[in-house]
């Protein structure tokens, strides 16, 4: 288990290891500068609109949550509500938390475990993008 740790002693024996400072640090700073540039660009050229004041009596057409909720929002339209809620809030988060233990006891012992896992992961991404698109386009 400790063999998996990349401790200072272990890395010192590896001639290919690179110093955090300045080598990796510079890489991080370059990417951070790029991201700062992008958000500054967006905030300057595409400022957030204030929108209409909230009116509890006038429901606007096509209410949508923020983009990162769209997958769940769309899937909840197709599955029984209670089932979807229980899955989203009670089953999925603990499963995600405990996933490393599951990986350790089941997946990595199986020959095709990683292949299956990566396939499920890729399908998950495709599903998420698909339902986000459906929600974005306003499918019922």
């Amino acid at each position: 288990m400790s063999a998996d740790k990349n401790t200072a002693e272990k890395l010192q024996e590896d001639p290919r290891a690179v110093p955090f400072f300045p080598d990796h640090f510079l890489k991080e700073v370059a990417v951070m500068a790029l991201v700062l540039g992008i958000v500054t660009f967006l905030a300057t050229l595409m400022p957030m609109p204030v929108g209409e004041p909230a009116d509890p009596l006038a429901t606007p057409a096509g209410i949508k949550p923020e983009w990162y909720f769209l997958t769940v929002f769309q899937i909840l339209k197709y599955v029984p509500k209670a089932l979807g809620i229980i899955w989203t809030f009670l089953i999925f988060p603990p499963f995600m938390m405990l996933f490393p233990l599951f990986y350790n006891s089941v997946i990595c012992k199986w020959r095709y475990g990683r292949l299956t896992l990566h396939t499920i992961g890729a399908l998950g991404i495709i599903t998420a993008i698909f339902f986000t698109m459906l929600a974005y386009l306003g499918f019922e």
Binding site: K5, V18, F21, M46, P47, I125
Partner: protein, 227 residues
């Protein structure tokens, strides 16, 4: 200890560092941070976590400035946003930067998680760091949800109404969760105060503590080798 060498600036700097070095062993701490090595396979994909931290820093700074002018009551929230947009110097920029960076931050968290997932970097001994990471993910999402209501415009009001009504569908305790979220039956001053407290007090404190743990664990265990 030697502040006698070099020109006046060098000596002044050395004296300054010596002061802290003698008291807190600063040189050793900084050396430890600067000299540690990362494995050779570390590439650009390993930057998503760092970018998320950068986004958080931007959010804290712009968020504090916005909090100076924002008023969390039903009657004044929308007008205080108008004030920020119309009268506060750089108000448009600050609010837009806060909103855009929020989206980029969530995107970066997702990319960071996918990187860790596909490299299986959560395997022993790093399970606990994955678990703190999952909690940090949900905290980031909650930041987004709680912050969305604050401007009190049509979009935020109805998105929060629809979002909180999802809780009603929960069997047995749905009504209670809904009432707890909104501080009553419907969106009111209580809701806004509640969301504001969550957004600017509870979540920032929680995320800071968990991020500290997250980074300590990375430093202690190093970056995972690919399989």
């Amino acid at each position: 200890m030697s502040s006698g060498e070099g020109n006046i600036f060098r000596r002044a700097w050395n004296g300054f560092v010596d002061f802290f070095d003698e008291r807190f062993d600063m040189r050793r701490v900084l050396r430890e941070f600067a000299d540690h090595e990362v494995p050779a396979h570390v590439n650009w994909l390993y930057c998503f976590g760092g970018i998320t931290l950068l986004c958080l820093i931007v959010q804290v700074l712009t968020g504090i400035l916005l909090a100076f002018y924002y008023e969390p009551t039903i009657d004044t929230a929308y007008d205080s946003i108008l004030n920020i947009m119309d009268n506060v110097p750089f108000g448009v920029f600050l609010r837009s930067l806060h909103a855009w960076t929020a989206n980029i931050m969530i995107l970066m968290v997702i990319l960071h998680m996918l990187r860790v997932f596909f490299h299986a970097a959560y395997r022993p001994p790093r399970e606990l760091n994955w678990m703190t990471g999952v909690i940090l993910f949900f905290i980031t999402i909650t930041f987004g949800f709680s912050g969305y209501l604050l401007p009190m415009n049509q979009l935020s009001f109805w998105a929060t109404k629809v979002g909180s009504e999802i809780a009603l569908e929960m069997p047995l305790i749905g009504t209670q969760i809904h009432a707890f979220l909104l501080g009553g039956e419907k969106i009111s001053d209580a809701t806004l105060t509640r969301f504001y407290a969550i957004h600017v007090v509870i979540l920032p404190v929680t995320i800071t503590i968990l991020l500290g743990l997250h980074f300590l664990m990375v430093r202690k265990q190093g970056i995972a080798d690919p399989l």
